[in-house]
């Protein structure tokens, strides 16, 4: 393996203690990550059975990032902004599985009323600013949400305004202008935002180190005088703790943080990707660091949840996912007479 490679960087991260994990948190994270995994596996099945269409990008392998970041934030208070790989962020933010599944089936009961699809999941109720399908375009939107938070506090003198926005995006996005422009503005105005890079090494078929002059993305924060952190993105507890530090900074007015989470997607870029470029050796390295298995190991070591209980949680989640599929299958398509509904606001 190349020195300084993606995997090498993960191996060189310092060992961390997870002594403060309590049962309640362990349960929440395990449930959220398992839901993310099982939901995505079901999506692959439904896609191949011809129940969902278009481009579908699955999140398998990256669950520690969604659960670690969103799980550390206040639901329906803080804001979340995602990409085309947005199903699991939506679930972590609390959008019901049946609403996400319905959207993927193009149904009226979907969180975007069947008008958005896999890459355009939205939920105002759950503060999901959306899935954004083009690279980088969600970051300015997330910046705007963070701006509103500061505006309400400082221009409208609303002392309760302390929401933080998490903007998720990948390594490929970090070569795009909107990334740099928004880092600059966020730090300039000390906006309460966390830039969460899910560095899974591959921008479709472009390896990260072939696309960028310095692969260590977290260091780019330095250029803006911003706090940057490199995080084990396969370890939900490490992600959670780094997020808690970033939230602390954001809520206390110290401004943004750039978190680079080293992670890996276990599937191809999308379900249409033949995935021909990634080596078996590389896939094995990351499969051994499966974030859900990693959390299970800690749970067992600390005897926080019994094996039986973990199994029954998995069963519950499978039931929830199956119910979401049934719900979506039986839901109505959007009314054809409402084709142009939602273009204009009153």
């Amino acid at each position: 393996m190349n020195k300084g490679s993606h995997a090498e960087r993960l191996n060189h991260l310092p060992e961390r203690e997870s002594s403060d994990l309590d049962r309640e948190t362990a349960l929440k994270l395990f449930k959220d990550m398992t839901l993310g995994r099982r939901f995505e596996d079901k999506c692959a099945e439904m896609y191949y059975r011809g129940k969902m269409f278009g481009f579908v990008h699955l999140y398998n392998g990256q669950e520690a990032v969604s659960s670690g970041v969103i799980g550390a934030m206040k639901l329906k208070h803080d804001w979340f902004c995602s990409t085309y790989r947005d199903h699991v962020h939506a679930l972590s933010a609390g959008v019901p599985a049946k609403e996400v599944m319905s959207e993927l089936f193009g149904k009226e009961t979907g969180c975007s009323k069947g008008r958005g699809g896999s890459m355009h999941l939205f939920s105002k109720e759950h503060h999901l600013l959306g899935g954004y399908a083009f690279i980088g375009e969600g970051i300015p939107v997330a910046l705007g949400s963070a701006f509103t938070s500061r505006y309400k506090k400082d221009a409208l003198k609303d002392e309760t305004s302390d929401s933080v926005t998490a903007a998720f995006f990948g390594d490929g996005t970090c070569n795009n202008g909107q990334f740099f422009e928004c880092l600059n503005m966020a730090q300039l105005w000390k906006l309460p935002i966390i830039f969460v890079v899910e560095n899974n090494k591959w921008a479709i078929g472009m390896a990260h180190d072939r696309a960028t002059s310095d692969p260590e993305i977290w260091k780019k924060a330095n250029a803006f005088g911003m706090k940057g952190e490199e995080v084990d993105g396969m370890n939900v507890l490490a992600v959670r703790e780094a997020t808690q530090r970033a939230i602390q900074r954001a809520r206390s007015g110290e401004g943004p943080t750039l978190l680079e989470c080293l992670t890996y997607r276990f599937r191809g870029h999308s379900l249409a990707d033949p995935d021909e470029l990634r080596s078996e050796e590389e896939k094995d390295f990351w499969a051994k660091r499966d974030p859900i298995k990693g959390l299970e190991k800690v749970i067992k070591e600390k005897k926080l949840i019994s094996n039986e209980e973990l199994k029954s949680i998995e069963k519950e989640i499978d039931k929830e996912v199956n119910e979401a599929v049934d719900f979506a299958l039986n839901a109505n398509d959007p009314d054809p007479t409402e084709l142009t509904k939602y273009i204009w606001a009153d």
Binding site: C81, H120, F122, E137, P140, A345
Partner: protein, 327 residues
């Protein structure tokens, strides 16, 4: 009472709306301390502070996207394009997010934003600063497009745009900022979707917008002296078109000329003619005519620049031909 200059009419509109609603804010290049490159936001920074009148770095796509996010979470931002041409750099945010997001989100979010600034061919500003982006943005779903042309409609339209819950692209013209006019008293608005019948007439309909309204007015004087009674309509709303007013006029005159400053190919007039043919074909006594700018980058040389855009005499000649020769 002294007249109000157009840029001050816009400024008054923004000031009054900001005073009334604390969620209204301005963002863009040099809108704050500098007061805007055409002084449309003069002194508002001092009055409302640095967050409500936000000086941004030169990052058009990102600050436009920031306005989208701010609008989704409760603010009502006005984005200034220092020159509307710069918004080519924000095309993605305007199209994908301002325009389409309400629909793709299934109505989850609304985007109450105004994107405003100077467009049009000025005096020898060169090709990049002389663009007419209204045509480029015309196909984007979910955005309203308006063009102001007098101090009175500038103020009334700006107030309506700020209050509208949809994204509005608001075109000002770089050569109209110093027009002066006495404004109506009090808090008035002009409907965003209504054309303005500038002068009633029975012989021919002239449809125009923005600075070309004033070229048409010059042409009207000459037509009048030739005994031609033209009806002049300022479209105001470029999207959607006020088809009702347009149809009514064509039913009366049976002839129509479109005078526009955008280029002919893919222009506002192209869409307008299609619409007229679809809706008023049987009313037409002669083919509809477009008088548009040349399909070229606006040249720097003043004489060439004048040749690029339509001049009043061309409007007169065309109207005369249509009426006397039935062309």
């Amino acid at each position: 009472m002294a007249g109000t200059l157009l840029f001050n009419a816009l400024r008054d509109a923004i000031d009054e709306e900001m005073a009334k609603d604390p969620h209204v804010c301005v963002m863009g290049e040099d809108v704050g301390q500098y007061g805007g490159s055409y002084k449309v936001t003069k002194d508002l920074y001092e009055k409302y502070g640095e967050l409500r009148v936000l000086d941004t770095p030169i990052a058009e796509n990102s600050f436009t996207g920031m306005a989208v996010g701010a609008a989704m979470t409760g603010l009502r931002p006005i984005v200034e394009g220092m020159n509307m041409g710069f918004l080519l750099l924000a095309f993605n945010q305007i199209s994908n997010n301002m325009g389409m997001l309400r629909y793709t989100s299934g109505g989850n979010f609304t985007i109450p934003t105004v994107v405003r600034g100077p467009g049009g061919v000025g005096r020898q500003l060169g090709a990049e600063h002389s663009q007419r982006l209204e045509a480029y943005f015309h196909a984007v779903p979910g955005i309203k497009i308006v063009a102001c042309s007098t101090p009175t409609n500038a103020k009334g339209l700006m107030k309506a745009a700020i209050r509208d819950n949809n994204p509005v692209l608001f075109f000002e013209h770089v050569l109209l900022y110093n027009l002066s006019e006495e404004l109506p008293k009090g808090d008035y608005i002009c409907a965003l979707d209504q054309a303005d019948i500038v002068k009633e007439g029975k012989d021919i309909t002239i449809l125009t917008y923005s600075r070309m309204r004033h070229h048409c007015l010059k042409a009207l004087e000459q037509l009048d002296s030739k005994g031609i009674d033209a009806e002049l309509i300022d479209l105001i709303s470029l999207k959607p078109f006020d088809l009702e007013t347009i149809s009514k006029s064509i039913k009366k005159t049976h002839k129509v000329i479109i005078v526009e400053e955008c280029m002919k190919t893919g222009g506002i007039g192209a869409e307008l003619i299609a619409l007229i043919n679809e809706n008023c074909f049987d009313e037409l006594d002669s083919r509809p005519v477009r008088l548009s700018s040349q399909d070229i980058p606006t040249p720097y040389n003043g004489k060439l620049e004048n040749l690029t855009i339509i001049q009043p005499h061309q409007i007169v000649e065309t109207a005369e031909q249509m009426i006397t020769q039935g062309l």
